[in-house]
């Protein structure tokens, strides 16, 4: 008598049979049939064809049958909304049923039908259910509001459901509270602007009260919601922390981790001298450790988060090293995470224990784990100097085991130890050399070759060793080949007499017999160096290398701070900000830790001043206002020779297609024929009198000031050129347009000043762009709220997007614009600086950069000179970063700094750059590589502009 019998009817015509049974007169048979339908549903069979028949069974007083039908409906309501609407009348009726279970079922199922039409039927029943006397119905209705909001947000607002929902936060029933909070947070997440859960001390207090009342799931929603709040001072932060702390003892690990997030975030505001700060630190450790005794899946997520917490505040878990010791039957994903945290917690105090453990792990069965353990020993040596010696001897012990992969891994890490502590452990080289033959992995071979080359003078038979590698040169991987080339050159420079032949051999192998450009290039460089200036060669090849640091594997602090705000989420599992893997994330608000109180935040107000300055600046352009003579003059000058016919023709074309057709050619000739305009359009000719910074759009600038979550101290936004006149008044019947382009926090805008220099009032402004290379288009209509009176000017920031139609322009960054007002339509063209198109996520991964650089053919490389720029590498780097040119790596070669940078354009084109900075030379050399080489010239101009301003 089990349900498995429902699976057995797999004969032909099953649907047909079910149909017959569903329409049976016998109640029992009907019920059995619905059960069969549901059983088919659970294994993914499509039984939607039975929809009308199942719906027919809905009109019944048998609760079980009704529930089963609802189960069926809920499954198909989402995918077959048009059919579900057939059942609407029954739903509405069931919403009035005396049994609250049925009322709840009905309102819940209705919410699942994602059709606009259903909303009109839903509103009234929903309103009643939100105020239902039964909490079971209320909590179901609360969730339904979220569902409805997703279908029709406007309707939900108009009907006042949001207010009702807010009221439910103070409901007497905890389940209702939980669902109300959940619904509200879902709505506010999908509409960040709706300001629904507008967090202020009163609402926070309400939430904190609800926290004690509601179910565990609701607590998670509330805590996540609290984490978005920014307390006004440390006292408020402390009082919230005090009320959140009891959640650390909750049995539900998700509640615990959400509480940890709130505490970690608000702790940032507490002064470290505070007693409470210490208490809080102590309270955080036990719950985190407890998470590690849960199921392995929970452990994994906990460990990924602990990894972040340990980096942010190592003091919390510094005494808890032992709980991270690996048990042999832990799943591999837990083992690897534990190992990572062990290294992060390693210190002089506990290093002996850690090493003993690591050594134990290195004899385990799992190869991946063993490798990581060996690597961990190396990281310990680099991190804790006092332990280096012990680490090296442990590694030597491991090498003695002769287990192939252990030996190889050990050699790779010993190379790093050599780099960290030069001239200290070279005595082990002899042992390493014994294992030369067993190395078959490129990384290990390369490491060994590096060691031989680096210490050639101490290895008697270095030449023999390297020669033995040389035999199979062509079969080696590039990594090994490059390393071998360098090592032999090093050897030659150290022992020139005996190794001349060897170096000849390797150079010819690298330059003549290889088709790898990197290898060839490097071979040629060495060859030239050695043949022209051996002394210089020595300085180059044997130059002192910078020490490697212990913290190479730490997450960079700003990212870490951001990730701390995402504790418990997927971002914390991947250690990437959500923006890295959620598309369309430009709108995502970057979360940041609150500033510690006491660190007085300097008022970022310089932007306020220029706006006043600008007002003073404006009038100087034309003769004194009200000067009749000037006006007359203006009128006279107004219609330029080419003006009237052009304007006339375009008016007839209508507003929709302002720039279509043959106007392009007209315009182009216009641009060409009018040098003043061409010059004025380009950013290369900055307006002389206008102070820099004026161009920063006022609106968004203010937004930045007040946007507390917008990252304190990171006043982002790229360089903005001062405004220049794009359309002189005399060419546009008295309308003067000057402007510039800017990029702020991911959005591009065109900042315009429209000035009416005519006698009559101007109104009905509109703007349109011609198709252009990057699809720039206005994201909103040009909004000039009041008619523009004579001699008045108005400042507008027009948001732009890059989803317009694309046509390649010449020059590439040419933008043709049409502006209409009540008088006429005017045209102008301007050049936009390319850096407004550099997107925020233009930072390439290192190895990606390397691979891409190699991948792009050399003919795509372009080189430029940036003259008169005497900035240091760091200054250059930070300046460029402001405009979304990201420095990926920096190295110092022969006393000059090399910056490797990347940027990405809005249309996804990557540009890679190498910037060479010589200390005493104001000229920088910029090499650009890009798959679309035509942008290089403009990228260079962007560099030039950014660096010189």
């Amino acid at each position: 008598m089990t349900d498995s019998k429902y699976f057995t009817t797999t004969k032909k015509g099953e649907i047909f049979e079910l149909k017959a049974e569903l329409n049976s007169d016998k109640k029992e048979k009907k019920k059995e049939a619905v059960k069969k339908v549901i059983a088919s549903m659970t294994v993914g069979k499509d039984v939607s064809a039975l929809f009308p028949d199942v719906v027919n069974c809905m009109q019944t007083d048998n609760l079980e049958l009704k529930k089963l039908v609802y189960l069926y409906l809920m499954n198909y309501a989402k995918s077959q909304p048009d059919m579900a609407i057939m059942a609407v009348n029954t739903f509405v009726k069931d919403c009035e049923d005396p049994n609250p279970l049925i009322r709840a079922l009905a309102v819940r199922t209705m919410g699942c039908i994602r059709v606009d039409k259903i909303t009109e039927y839903l509103c009234e029943p929903l309103r009643k259910c939100l105020k239902d006397e039964d909490p079971y119905v209320r909590k179901t209705a609360a969730v339904c509001v979220a569902k409805l909001h997703d279908i029709n947000a406007q309707l939900v607002e108009d009907q006042g459901f949001l207010d009702t929902l807010k009221d439910l936060i103070s409901d007497s029933n905890p389940m209702v509270v939980a669902n109300a909070v959940a619904a509200l947070s879902e709505i506010s997440e999908s509409h960040p602007s709706s300001n629904l859960l507008d967090l202020n001390p009163q609402s926070i207090n309400k939430l904190l009260t609800a926290l004690n009342e509601c179910t565990e799931w609701g607590q998670i929603f509330i805590l996540d919601c609290l984490a978005n709040y920014m307390p006004k001072d440390d006292r408020e932060a402390q009082s919230i922390c005090e009320r959140v702390t009891p959640r650390l003892s909750h049995a539900n690990s998700a509640v615990v981790l959400s509480a940890v997030k709130v505490l970690m975030k608000f702790m940032e505001m507490l002064s470290k001298d505070l007693d409470y700060y210490g208490t809080l630190l102590k309270k955080l450790a036990p719950p985190l450790v407890t998470l590690l005794s849960a199921e392995p899946e929970l452990q994994y997520v906990a460990l990924r988060n602990i990894n972040l917490i340990v980096q942010k505040r190592p003091e919390i878990l510094k005494h808890e090293m032992k709980v991270f010791f690996v048990k042999y039957n832990d799943p591999i994903y837990v083992k690897l995470e534990k190992l990572d945290i062990m290294i992060r917690l390693a210190s002089q105090a506990n290093i002996a224990q850690v090493l003993a453990e690591l050594k134990e792990y290195a004899t385990e069965v799992d190869v991946d784990f063993v490798r990581k353990a060996v690597r961990a020993i190396g990281r310990c040596a680099i991190k804790v100097e006092q332990s280096a010696e012990r680490c090296v001897s442990t590694l030597l012990d491991l090498i003695q085991t002769k287990v192939n992969y252990v030996v190889q891994e050990a050699i790779v890490v010993i190379k790093d130890i050599f780099r960290k502590y030069p001239n200290k452990y070279e005595s082990v080289i002899a042992t390493l050399c014994e294992n030369l033959d067993s190395l078959d992995e490129p990384e290990a071979r390369a490491a060994m070759i590096w060691i031989v080359g680096e210490y050639a003078e101490r290895i008697d038979n270095a030449d023999e060793l390297l020669e033995s590698f040389l035999e199979g040169f062509h079969d080696e991987s590039t990594q090994v080949q490059l390393q071998l080339l360098t090592a032999i050159v090093k050897l030659f420079l150290k022992k020139p007499t005996e190794t001349q032949e060897l170096v000849q051999q390797v150079l010819s192998l690298a330059t003549q017999d290889s088709d790898n450009p990197d290898l060839r290039d490097r071979g040629y460089i060495y060859w030239r160096l050695l043949s022209t200036d051996p002394v210089a060669a020595k300085e180059v090849v044997l130059a002192e290398k910078p020490l490697i640091s212990e913290e190479t594997d730490l997450i960079e602090p700003t990212l870490l701070d951001e990730l701390i705000c995402y504790i418990g989420t997927l971002a914390s599992v991947y250690h990437k900000p959500p923006s890295a893997f959620v598309e369309g994330s430009r709108g995502v608000v970057h979360k940041s830790l609150p500033p510690r109180t006491g660190s007085s935040e300097s008022a970022e107000s310089p932007e306020a001043a220029p706006s006043a300055g600008q007002a003073a600046e404006q009038p100087a352009v034309i003769p004194a206002q009200g000067d009749l003579l000037g006006d007359l003059l203006n009128l006279d000058l107004g219609p330029p020779v080419s003006g009237p016919p052009l304007a006339a023709s375009s008016v007839q074309m209508g507003a929709v297609d302002l720039l279509g057709g043959g106007l392009d050619s007209l315009l182009r000739s216009d641009v060409g024929g009018s040098p003043a305009m061409g010059g004025g359009g380009g950013f290369a000719a900055p307006g002389p009198a206008v102070p820099a910074g004026v161009g920063a759009p006022l609106g968004s600038g203010l937004g930045d000031l007040f946007d507390l979550t917008g990252g304190v101290g990171t006043l982002s936004g790229s360089y903005v050129a001062p405004k220049s006149v794009w359309l002189p008044a005399m060419k546009a019947k008295g309308l003067e347009i000057s402007g510039t382009f800017s990029r702020q926090v991911g959005s591009i805008s065109m900042d315009l000043v429209l000035t009416n220099k005519a006698l009559q009032v101007m109104s009905d402004f509109a703007i349109q762009f011609n198709r252009n290379s990057f699809g720039l288009a206005p994201a909103a209509p040009l909004q000039v709220h009041a008619p523009l009176a004579p001699n008045q000017s108005v400042e507008i920031s027009l948001p732009l997007n890059t989803v317009g139609s694309v046509m390649k322009m010449d020059p590439l960054n040419n933008l043709q614009v049409a502006v209409k007002n009540n008088i006429d339509v005017f045209y102008f063209s301007t050049l936009y600086p390319l850096h407004i198109l550099f997107v925020e996520d233009g930072k390439m991964e290192r190895q990606m950069f390397l691979a891409t650089w190699k991948d792009i053919p050399n003919e795509n490389e372009a080189q430029f000179q940036l003259k008169d720029c005497s900035l240091s590498a760091d200054a250059v780097s930070s300046k460029l970063q402001g405009s979304n040119i990201f420095t990926i790596a920096k190295r110092n070669v022969e006393g000059q700094d090399m910056l490797y940078q990347s940027l990405k354009l809005t249309n996804g084109i990557w540009v890679l750059a190498e910037l060479r900075i010589q200390p005493s030379n104001p000229t920088l050399t910029l090499s650009l590589k890009c798959r679309a080489p035509e942008v290089s010239q403009h990228v260079f101009q962007a560099y030039d502009t950014i660096l010189k301003n």
Binding site: M1, T2, D3, S4, I38, A39, T42, V43, G44, N62, E64, N75, P100, L101, D134, Y136, P174, M175, A183, E189, S190, E213, W217, I220, A251, S253, A254, P286, V289, T290, E295, P296, E297, Y300, V301, H319, V323, F325, K327, Y328, N329, V403, A446, T486, Y524, K545, T569, L570, Y574, K576, F581, V582, E583, G584, E845, W853, K854, R891, M898, E914
Partner: protein, 456 residues
């Protein structure tokens, strides 16, 4: 020749340790026209042979093919227990747990706290266990309609609704043989037609109107010792994971207070929501209105800072001779700090190295088995009597020609000690308020080995 070589020295561009190319694997969400899908979207139940035997969608239907990514990961992990719990696919995330030989794979579309999902999935498994007595494929298939009703009741629009078994049981009656017989005769159903009363009160975990003829309250203090013992017999790491599981069958609305002789032992505790946290903070007394039936009252951890007693010791000698394709195995287990109680239910399991072909051993007590396929040696010892310590010794045969195994197998020990909480935790008294009758009270202590490992 320009110096514009990309850096090729292996040190300047060391790959970041985290730099598995995650970006490629992560789903890219469509910015626009995305149906807001919060929380858990779908659930697939998959058995060990990779059959999807149940699917449930709380939003629109997601094709089964999404599970292919899971199967891929499963294949890579080789061992079922090593499947990573969070997997990303081009459009979804898969968050899974592995319980009772079933994978619970949930499909997620947006940023959701993974712990939230994992906790919920465990709650689903708990509920099945509770309802059907076991959480197995057969049990689920046999009760597929109830399972479906439960899943629908537990989650609405991706939000957990009712996860307390007390409430669920009132909404959906658990199946019993008797009831299904009765149902089929009388035609009545297993769906509750009234609302769970707990929902009306502020004590959602307890239903109202509970009535028993025998009022009883039992508490089981269960402690598990997790330990790693090194070769020489010293403790590398040890801690006690304790829980107090309760079985409360009391009529009405009893208000209980449970106090301990030594509450200071409990510095790291997780509570059932019924416990009043303030009382605990101020008086170190557990004060609560209990749910009806079985539930976990608290779980606690006594960390390694406090001395954790180790109740058994193991003397071992496992060695492999160079070039002789054989080795010796000699293990003795003896009692240590066991507070005068008997250590029983002792079982030792050892994962022998791959090269081991078979083992020829003699046990002075109990019986042993060696599985030549999985290389697992299991020795069921039973009770330890201090007068005659159990010993297992003999010859290990290796594959001929195989090199001497490098790794030393760890010994995994299980044991039980009745009537003892190894941490020393003792219940002082249980008081009941709010009801007049006199309940029958009982406390039971038991200590078990958790992950107890001896390295050799």
């Amino acid at each position: 020749m320009r110096g514009s070589l990309p850096p090729a020295e292996p040190f300047t561009f060391q790959p970041h340790p985290e730099a598995r190319d995650i970006r490629r694997e992560l789903p890219r969400h469509r910015g626009k026209h995305r149906q807001r899908q919060k929380m858990i979207h779908s659930l697939f139940l998959i058995n060990c042979s990779g059959d999807i035997f149940l699917e449930k969608h709380w939003k629109s239907v997601v094709s089964q093919s999404v599970c292919d990514y899971f199967f891929e990961a499963q294949e890579k992990a080789i061992d079922v227990e090593n499947v990573p719990p969070v997997i990303s696919t081009p459009h979804h995330y898969l968050i899974s747990i592995y319980r009772d030989k079933i994978f619970f794979v949930s499909v997620i579309q947006t940023e959701v706290p993974p712990l939230f999902v994992i906790e919920f999935l465990h709650r689903v498994a708990d509920t099945f266990q509770d309802y059907f007595g076991e959480c197995s494929e057969t049990a689920i298939k046999d009760n597929v309609v109830i399972v479906y009703e439960l899943l629908e009741e537990m989650l609405d629009n991706g939000f957990p609704l009712a996860t307390e078994s007390n409430i669920l049981k009132e909404l959906i009656k658990p199946p019993t043989i008797l009831r299904s017989v009765v149902n089929s005769i009388t035609g009545s159903s297993n769906v509750g037609d009234t609302l769970p009363t707990g929902q009306l009160s502020n004590i959602p975990w307890r239903r109202a109107g509970v009535k028993y003829t025998n009022n009883e309250a039992y508490f089981d203090v269960i402690e598990e010792i997790d330990a790693i013992i090194d070769k020489s017999g010293s403790t590398v790491f040890a801690e006690i994971q304790g829980v107090i599981d309760s079985c409360i069958k009391l009529s009405g609305m009893p208000d209980l207070s449970l106090s301990f002789m030594n509450p200071r032992l409990l510095d790291d505790v997780s509570f059932h929501p019924c416990i009043r946290f303030k009382r605990w903070e101020s008086e170190r007394v557990l004060s609560f209105i209990p749910p009806d039936g079985n539930f976990r009252l608290i779980s606690y951890r006594v960390s390694s800072q406090n001395l954790v007693a180790i109740p058994v010791y193991v003397k071992h000698m496992i060695s492999f001779k160079e070039n002789s394709s054989s080795g010796r195995f000699d293990v003795t287990i003896g009692p240590k700090q066991n507070m005068g109680k008997t250590v029983e239910g002792v079982v030792m399991t050892v994962h022998m190295p791959k090269a081991v072909l078979n083992m020829n051993l003699t046990a002075t007590q109990g019986s042993y088995t060696f599985d030549p396929v999985t290389k697992v040696l299991t020795w069921d010892v039973g009770k330890i009597t201090p007068q005659k310590l159990p010993n297992l010794k003999g010859i290990v045969n290796l594959q001929s020609g195989a090199p001497k195994p490098e790794e030393n197998p760890s010994l995994n020990i299980q044991f039980k000690i009745q009537q003892l909480a190894i941490s020393g935790l003792k219940v002082n008294r249980l008081d009941m308020y709010g009801e007049k009758y006199k309940p029958f009270k009982g406390v039971k202590y038991i200590t078990k080995a958790g992950k107890f490992q001896v390295r050799t």
